[in-house]
């Protein structure tokens, strides 16, 4: 029983991380109809920026984390301006290729700048404690991750539902031209979208670094792919769906390993199997909108 609870806690924690990163995919898709394949690498950049901030400055850790998220947010804006904006009028496949190119570029840039050898993430002491209740013992970070995620989700939800910019974002996801007729600055809204997505990815990257304290320039690939899958499973373009997909993926992965230890080697395969199943059963994802082609 305690074991199960322990796995559950771990699963929720991993799921929150996935959810946080999956939101970036889904938001960008909602507005640009683009799978931002460089999103996982933005996540990697976030982890590295935090690493350098902690190692080489005397700024308190929490401030390093906040600054990291903000800087990464701006890097996301830069990515859009350089890799996607010039292709705004181009066919979608062109932009998609540009996204894959941007991803390779960032990964290799990471190898050149950060070095290919893994770096140990300097975990602030607060996160090294272990909490015990009953027979369950987990690291502080395992609790922190879902809490941070939930706080950010509430904030995001408020932003999108209640603010004018959030409303403009939703309008833009439906109709560019009508949105511009409202006087909405489309480029600005797209930038804000990339900022938020990249900000969340950086928060994910930092918490990932604390949980799995080994940084590599290619560390964004697998989480990036999985979170993309999470977004698709939930219904791409739908934020609630992305969160749901993230949790399903995180919990599923942990439970698979816990309940069927023989399949541990297939841990990463779980996400892909889930993707295949979803695409077969409900191609638009769990919360995806029905695609109706109007004549």
């Amino acid at each position: 029983m305690d074991k199960l609870l322990q796995h559950l806690v771990n699963g929720v924690s991993l799921g929150s991380l996935y959810a946080l990163i999956a939101i970036g995919y889904t938001m960008v898709y909602g507005i640009l109809r683009l799978i931002n394949f460089a999103h996982g690498d933005i996540f990697m950049l976030g982890a590295y920026i935090a690493f350098y901030g902690l190692m080489f400055t005397s700024i308190p850790w929490w401030l390093v984390f906040i600054l990291t998220a903000v800087i990464t947010g701006f890097l996301g804006i830069l990515l859009e301006k350089l890799a996607y904006k010039p292709l705004r009028e181009a066919p979608r496949i062109t932009v998609l290729i540009s996204a894959i190119g941007a991803s390779f570029f960032l990964e290799n840039l990471g190898i050149v700048v950060f070095g290919g050898r893994p770096k140990a993430f300097p975990i602030p002491d607060v996160f090294n404690k272990v909490i015990r209740f009953g027979g369950v013992s987990v690291g502080v970070i395992t609790f922190v991750i879902p809490v941070v995620t939930i706080v950010l989700l509430i904030g995001l939800n408020y932003f999108i539902k209640k603010t004018k910019t959030g409303m403009a974002m939703r309008a833009l996801s439906k109709d560019y031209e009508a949105a511009s007729l409202m006087g909405i600055d489309i480029n600005k809204i797209i930038s804000i979208t990339f900022f938020i997505g990249s900000f969340l990815a950086a928060v994910g990257g930092i918490m990932w670094g604390i949980r799995y304290p080994q940084l590599m320039p290619l560390m964004g690939m697998m989480p990036g792919l999985k979170c993309f899958i999470a977004a698709v499973v939930g219904g791409i373009g739908n934020i609630t769906g992305a969160v749901l997909g993230g949790f399903i993926l995180g919990l599923g992965e942990i439970m698979l390993v816990a309940l069927l230890p023989g399949l541990t080697g297939y841990r990463d395969a779980f996400a892909f199997i889930l993707l295949i199943v979803i695409l077969l059963i409900k191609p638009t994802g769990l919360m995806g909108e029905k695609v109706t082609e109007k004549v």
Partner: protein, 236 residues
């Protein structure tokens, strides 16, 4: 007030507009009529900066708007209620209206204007929490017009507001246009329903294959033989 001169628009190699001159005076209803593909919508879209102008000039009270972005043209108070309504169907009725006032910052006045729109269209008030996508065609058109009014437009341009509506609703829409005009608004109306449009228009332009073929006071254009034959379905 608004002056369009020598406007040319091309889509690829196809010339949609070949030198259009239009001027709109304050507090008038001006209408642009013509068959499908005559270039009516292109004219409006070019004024709004939604399509590129190959040639020509758009001036508003002496100010050159030719190369401004759509969002800046909206800020000047020139508003287009687009063809096919284009309400945001994933937003509620009220959100659509509030978004109409995107360029404004006077929160309290915006609230008042939302109420004004509700007063004008009680149907929208009843449904203010519903997603715009659930409204009927006529209600969506009212929402689109209401959303346009939220800008507090200096010039309200409407592209085929009666398109696809039942005859009874068409009458409603024209009554609404008259009411909006009576409140002191300037209107540029594009319509296929030439008869109704000419009846309420102060001034009219007739477009054929990208060129102006006739212009004049609405009631006179209505009497023109060529117009009668081509657009009103009356024999000579």
């Amino acid at each position: 007030m608004l002056k369009v001169s020598n406007l040319h628009v091309s889509y690829g190699g196809i010339k949609a507009l070949r030198g259009i001159d239009i001027s709109i005076e304050e507090n008038k209803i001006v209408t642009l009529i013509g068959a499908n593909g005559a270039g009516k919508s292109s004219t409006l879209r070019a004024i709004m900066g939604l399509v590129e102008k190959a040639e020509g000039k758009v001036e508003y009270n002496g100010e050159d708007l030719t190369n401004l972005h759509t969002k800046d043209i909206v800020k000047k108070g020139i508003v287009l209620v687009p063809e096919g309504r284009k309400v945001f169907d994933n937003l509620t009725v009220e959100e659509n209206l509030i978004l109409g006032a995107y360029t404004r910052t006077d929160t309290e006045e915006i609230r008042k204007d939302v109420d004004k729109v509700y007063e004008m269209f009680p149907r929208l008030k009843e449904r203010n929490w519903q997603k715009a996508g659930t409204l009927s065609g006529g209600e969506q058109q009212m929402l689109a017009v209401g959303r346009g009014l939220m800008v507090r437009p200096k010039i309200l341009m409407m592209d085929e507001p009666s398109l696809g509506l039942a005859p009874l609703l068409v009458k409603d829409i024209f009554d609404i246009i008259k009411a909006i005009h009576a409140q002191g608004n300037t209107i540029l109306l594009v319509e296929q329903n030439a008869k109704k449009a000419l009846e309420i228009a102060d001034y009219a332009y007739v477009l054929e294959t990208g060129e102006l073929v006739l212009e004049g006071i609405g009631s006179e254009v209505l009497k023109n033989d060529r117009v009668k034959e081509a657009y009103l379905g009356e024999a000579k």
